[in-house]
């Protein structure tokens, strides 16, 4: 359920101000993030577009509590992520954030159901693994190991794993990067459905401009900064995309 743009009291989840992330030292210094200003709101689906090396992954990792910024402000609701310690970040990831990566990162020794169950064991108010897998249309594959699943199926298990804890935020880093168009679209549909039905704030990184059409907002990223934010009047269903 997308919030129509322009409504003033929509709920802000992330507040990002002058966020900077510097890797390395001296001559080898890289400003992966060079002053990012951004707000992200509950329930919206955001596509983050930009050339390779522009800092998208770095931003996402900072949002997800995998990495801490060098300078600037970054807060999730009232939690200041720049000051949170290791334990607080673990807690934050465990309860609030779902991740989907380009390379699925499933645990090869666990079945689909168990990969999801892994999370529901530690989360506070999880949905049953079967339900999460049902949302990504994988019910017939519950007891398959990753090696027995196709790339698209593995990615959908990863999505199910990410959402089983009913996170407030779903962060997807090039979720279709390793997939062909048809499978990619199935995966995007799954993400879209989660966003719509659970109202999860969803951020999708891609360098595929076509995917911008399914977003509420499209953020263009370049050289470690937000270059431009574009709001779609209407979201195109993932099914209609083609590239």
């Amino acid at each position: 359920m997308a919030f129509p743009p322009g409504i003033p009291d929509r709920l802000r989840i992330f507040r990002v101000r002058q966020l900077t992330k510097v890797y390395g030292e001296g001559l080898a210094q890289v400003h992966a993030l060079a002053g990012v200003d951004l707000d992200l709101y509950a329930g919206e689906l955001v596509v983050l577009l930009g050339p390779s090396g522009s800092g998208k992954t770095t931003l996402l990792n900072n949002l997800g509590g995998l990495d801490v910024p060098t300078a600037g402000e970054l807060s999730y609701r009232h939690l200041d992520l720049t000051r949170a310690d290791e334990a607080a970040l673990t807690q934050y990831r465990r309860e609030r954030v779902g991740f989907v990566f380009q390379f699925y990162n499933l645990i090869p020794s666990l079945t689909a159901r168990e990969n999801v169950g892994l999370i529901t064991e530690i989360a506070r108010d999880p949905m049953p693994p079967e339900l999460a897998l049902e949302m990504v249309h994988l019910s017939p594959r519950l007891d398959h190991f990753p090696a027995q699943l196709s790339g698209g199926e593995q990615q959908r298990v990863a999505i199910a794993r990410a959402i089983a804890k009913r996170p407030e935020v779903l962060l997807c880093d090039e979720p279709t990067g390793a997939l062909d168009v048809r499978t990619g679209i199935v995966v995007l549909e799954a993400i879209e459905r989660v966003n719509r039905e659970l109202g999860t704030l969803t951020v999708i990184i891609t360098h595929n401009a076509v995917m911008a059409e399914m977003a509420d907002r499209v953020i263009h990223f370049s050289d470690g900064r937000v270059h431009d934010i574009h709001e779609n009047a209407r979201r195109a269903p993932a099914q209609s995309l083609n590239w």
Binding site: T57, N61, G64, L66, D67, E86, A87, T90, R93, R94, E95, V97, G98, F99, F101, Q102, F103, N105, L106, I107, P108, S109, L110, E114, G117, L118, I119, E121, I122, A123, F145, P146, A147, Q148, Q154, R161, A162, K165, D173
Partner: protein
Amino acid sequence: MISQLDRKLFRDLRRMKGQALAVALVMGCGLSMMIMSRSLIRSLESTRHEYYEAYRFAEVFVHLKRAPNRLVDRIAAIPGVAAVQAGISVQVTLDLPELDEPASGLVRSLPDHQPPALNRLFLRAGRWLRPGGTGEILVGEAFADANQLHPGDSLTLLLNGRRQTMRIAGIVLSPEFIFESRPGTALPDNRTYGIFWMPYRALASAYDLYGAFNQLALTLAPGASERPVIGALDELLKPYGGRGAHGRTDHPSHIRVSDEIRVLHTLAIGFPVVFLSVAAFMTNAVLSRLLTLQREQIAILKAFGFTDRQIVLHYLKFALVMVVAGALLGVLGGILLGVRIVTLYQLFFRFPELAFSLDRGAMLLALAVSALAAILGVFSSVRRAARLPPAEAMRPEPPARYRPALIERTGMARVLSHTFRIAVRNLERKPVQACFTIAGLALATGILIVPNCFRDGIQNVLDFQWDVVQRQDIGIGLVEPSSDQIKHLFAQLPGVIAVEPVRSAAVRLRFGARHRQLAIQGLPAHGQHSRVIDANYRQITLPSEGLVISSKLADVLGARVGDLVILEVLEGRRVTRTAPLVGLAEDFAGIAAYMDLHALNRLLGEGDIITGASFSIDALAWRDFLRELKGIPRVSWVAVKESLRANFRETTAASINVIQTIYLIFAVIVAFGVVYNNARISLAERARELATLRVIGFSRREVGAVLVTELVILALIAVPIGLLIGTGFATAILREVNTETVRLPLVLLPGNYAFAVLAVTIASVVSALAVLRKLNQLDLVGALKAPE
């Protein structure tokens, strides 16, 4: 081109330095032991050989009552005899003012005007005896050292009942007494027993033996065999009270050194083999891990046109760097330990010079063996990787195939947590690797058992054997066999609580083709002093017929209880009898044969005769007892249990303890190496998976639990196996190192097992902690990028 590859090699090594070091250390331990033992063997063998050659150590030895010197020519004429040296050898007692107890010794004659043809002496200090001089004596080094005697000091001997004070001319060594111990005892007591040399004329006149000899040694002509010469010699000496000639295999000092060399041979092979196998397992584990990681790199190298050979070579170099490091450690350790042990040997092996000589051949062999171990460790996996078609290798390895673990299929699935499942399935999926790890851990556990088994054996000998088995405080030998009435005299000495008679006689025991020469002991059937103990530590009551021998002697002869053994008495009436073997005694030093005193006397046919006695003494009257004893001229030697025990503790026990400590340290290193290596590998192999768990919200503890669970499962399987293996090792090694001179009982105490378990547990905990620390440094973001 190659130099860039070598650079990669260097960086890979740096990244895996922990594991590489662990492998090198384990290898180093094995090699140290191999180099140490081989070098000691070499040092002992070559030193002894040169000593024997240069100082003309004889090959056949005989004692007799008395024979005229002219007989020597007839002996020299026996076919196969090269050189003969006859002389006089007598037991004496000494009066050392600083010593409470009487000391005793052996005095040998030296030809008056020329050096002896055989068994020449080495002069350590002072000078030789003046030709024709009197009142001078040469003293063996062990005794001189133990009593701090120097040239110029004087020494009082009871020669044939007469006190004679002599001046020490020089301190000497003899190839006949590399190991100085009283005849018939395997344990040395250098403080109270010594070897001395006097001019023939002086000694012969003191004992009324002028113009005669009572001891003779000879060498064999090249190619001559020992047996016929001994036969002819015995025949010739029979009328002169010959006690039976014997070769070097019955020579106490010679066999003591030979036994040590034998023990070293066992140690030079047994331990290194185990250690190097462990190292091979570890190398394999490290290398296969590296290869999995570097799949794509291999593909790229191949795409660029590197040949399979170059690639195999590259990874072999990686292993060889570890081998070289291990070999360096091994050589260094081997030399250091060898030098340390040589100084210990100098305590009880007296050579003119016993220097540590590095066995370079062993060094090369060690290098070759460990290189082979490493190559075996790497070859299969490297070849597999090199064979990979480049295009396939370029793709990340497909997700591994898993299936529910066996244990889950038994219906236990419900109770298993996900972390446990991950651990179990990982183990089941790579059973070979898991087996290697278990093998390594089990071996590490097993080798922890052996050194402590040595320690407990020593302790058993020092406590149990000496206190429970040997209950006398002191044993004495008489100058000549005497009527057993003398024990009434002994009983009246101050402080005597109990006295028991002993009759010993020189015999040759034969069974089939094998024989050994020794002093058979006649003891009271229910004696409370020198108790004869069976394998279950129960006293054997000596029956009125038949004999009991050391079980080691039974081994040597190949005889079993119930067999008839031939007993050739080598003194007195020289009867030959057969006697049934009725029991086996567990003793820890030398070989012995026991009979009931009366039975022995009956067999010897000389009436009720004793040659010695054992005493238990009231501690308060100890000094009085010794003082009186010193005044009895018929006493030729005295063995004080406490002195023997102290000496054993300081020499044999000390040397075994040093070796035990070394092995223990090595075993601990191996245990740590294996566990640490294994933990590091599981961490490296699953960095990606573990990082993922962290990313999706698992805490460090929870992620650590996955790794730890796996380690714990492996340890739980490996440790019991290891304890069994260790028991096997200990049994086998003790069997091998138990010689005719010194043996250790196989003592396996719960504490030993507990220690092994504890050491492996601590090693595991420490390694796990080290690895968990690495886990904290896990690069979460990096692990989520495309697979390396």
